[in-house]
């Protein structure tokens, strides 16, 4: 297998990384809104959030991507396939991240908020200074996990015509008759990307205050 082929795979992996990264960030922003709605205690907010989460966790990502890609033009929105891919991945990861965040917030021990109340914090101050930092810290390992899952799941966006790492590997395998070498290389590239993500996540986690080294 020539270096040229490997370069093509590496270039395609930039799509994998880019689409995944953008989707995780957008998904996180949406997840904040969703988890806030679920924790609001008001049906008006929590019910739609629950429906959203049920749908995006319950329907296969592949089906979601095909739905979004085919549905948007029907309702008059013509978007490039890359946008459809990012929308699909973002909404899907948002549902999972929202559940992670909700779990993180629910796991902040009540006593830590009581001690904040007892030293005079308003509910808003206790939320900002105590609840959010602790909940994010509790959620962080799950966020890294989700990032790795999305990086792998991004291989599915090839169905809407994005030539990312998996799709490039398929194309090259078909045209070069070197499927073994090419898919092994693609697998290796996924592995290295995810090792880097896991390692970076571990380093960040250990640098968060209050976790003994």
């Amino acid at each position: 297998m020539s270096l040229k082929l490997f370069e093509l795979l590496l270039k395609a992996s930039l799509y994998t990384i880019g689409i995944s990264l953008i989707s995780i960030l957008i998904g996180f922003a949406i997840a904040i809104l969703l988890s806030g709605a679920m924790l609001s205690g008001r049906k008006f907010f929590s019910a739609p959030a629950q429906i959203f989460i049920s749908f995006f966790r319950g329907v296969p990502l592949l089906v979601q991507l095909l739905l979004i890609y085919n549905l948007l033009p029907v309702i008059g929105i013509n978007v490039p396939s890359i946008v459809a891919a990012i929308v699909g991945l973002s909404l899907c990861t948002a549902a999972y991240q929202a559940e992670n965040l909700r779990g993180g917030f629910a796991s902040v021990p009540r006593g830590l908020i009581e001690s904040a109340e007892m030293v005079g914090f308003t509910p808003g101050q206790a939320f900002r200074r105590i609840k959010v930092p602790i909940a994010l810290r509790l959620t962080f390992p799950a966020l890294v996990n989700e990032a790795i899952l999305i990086l792998k799941a991004s291989s599915l966006v090839s169905v809407v015509g994005i030539v990312e790492l998996t799709r490039m590997a398929q194309d090259l395998a078909g045209s070069t008759f070197l499927p073994l070498e090419i898919f092994a290389s693609a697998g290796l590239i996924y592995l290295v990307i995810n090792l880097v993500v896991a390692r970076a996540g571990g380093l960040i986690e250990r640098s968060l205050p209050g976790i003994p080294r």
Binding site: P109, G111, L112, E114, S115, E117, M118, V119, F121, G210
Partner: protein, 263 residues
């Protein structure tokens, strides 16, 4: 007789169908150490938490220095929640120490003690940390200022928690089983800090299984059993000549365990 530091009037607390406190009346005197003792499940922690308005009483009132905290109650029994800002202002006179310390894990010892000074009292970082450091010196932990709670022993964490409460200059300190989650050899350092505080004349309410502490430092002992206040009096009345059969039975369990030398 001066105004009690805390006046508990006809306090009833129900959790669903279960009544945990059956109409408690209790005055906590100024400048003294009051101890709440009783078997597990007697309601003593719930009573203390009601005093801090961490639990909402079902009926009855808590009065701090003559000002009602939490809910006011009319003669007809109509209860009205006081504004949050009012409750915060009245509660600022109270410091609370918890069984589980409840230190914030993402802040150092110094951060835990200085946090409210900065966030609530808007002190500058330097002023807040100077004051916090002085409190850590007082509990003997200046060398641990930069440590996170996870890096401290239980006894050290509880002393940081005491320093955090004291930094806000409370008039009353509430202790909810402050040594119950500590290894036996670590209770002494916490009890010593509490003794020093008592010697300074701090008004203290202590829920504890440390009968020795209650007997030697306590100035008013209240015995609760099954949500009822069975007895309140001076330590000598409680420990030397317990007239109440339930109290006698309760104290016997401690005497059996060799606590008699402490009494």
């Amino acid at each position: 007789m001066s105004l009690p530091a805390i006046a508990v009037k006809n306090l009833v607390k129900q959790f669903g169908e279960t009544t945990v406190l059956h109409g408690i009346d209790l005055d906590i005197p100024q400048g003294k150490v009051s101890c709440l003792i009783g078997p597990s499940g007697s309601g003593k922690s719930t009573l203390l938490r009601c005093m801090a308005f961490l639990e909402e009483a079902t009926r009855g009132t808590i009065t701090i220095d003559g000002e009602v905290l939490g809910f006011s109650e009319s003669a007809q029994g109509v209860r009205e929640r006081l504004p949050a800002a009012t409750n915060r202002a009245i509660r600022s006179r109270i410091g609370m120490v918890f069984q589980q310390f409840n230190l914030w894990p993402h802040m150092t010892a110094l951060g835990n003690v200085s946090e409210a000074l900065k966030t609530v009292h808007k002190m500058s970082r330097k002023d807040a940390e100077d004051l916090a450091m002085a409190q850590l010196v007082k509990v003997g932990l200046e060398s641990r200022a930069g440590h996170y709670p996870a890096q401290l022993s239980g006894g050290q964490q509880q002393r940081v928690a005491i320093a955090r409460a004291l930094a806000l200059k409370p008039k009353i300190m509430l202790f909810d089983e402050p040594t119950s989650s500590l290894d036996p050899e670590l209770t002494g350092e916490v009890l010593n800090v509490m003794r020093d505080l008592a010697a300074e004349g701090m008004t203290m309410v202590v829920v504890s299984h440390e009968i020795g502490f209650a007997a030697t430092v306590g100035q008013q002992i209240s015995f609760l059993d099954q949500g009822k206040l069975l007895f309140t009096g001076a330590p000598s009345d409680v420990f030397r000549k317990p007239r109440n059969p339930r109290l006698e039975q309760f104290l016997d369990t401690y005497l059996d365990r060799g606590a008699s030398m402490l009494v």
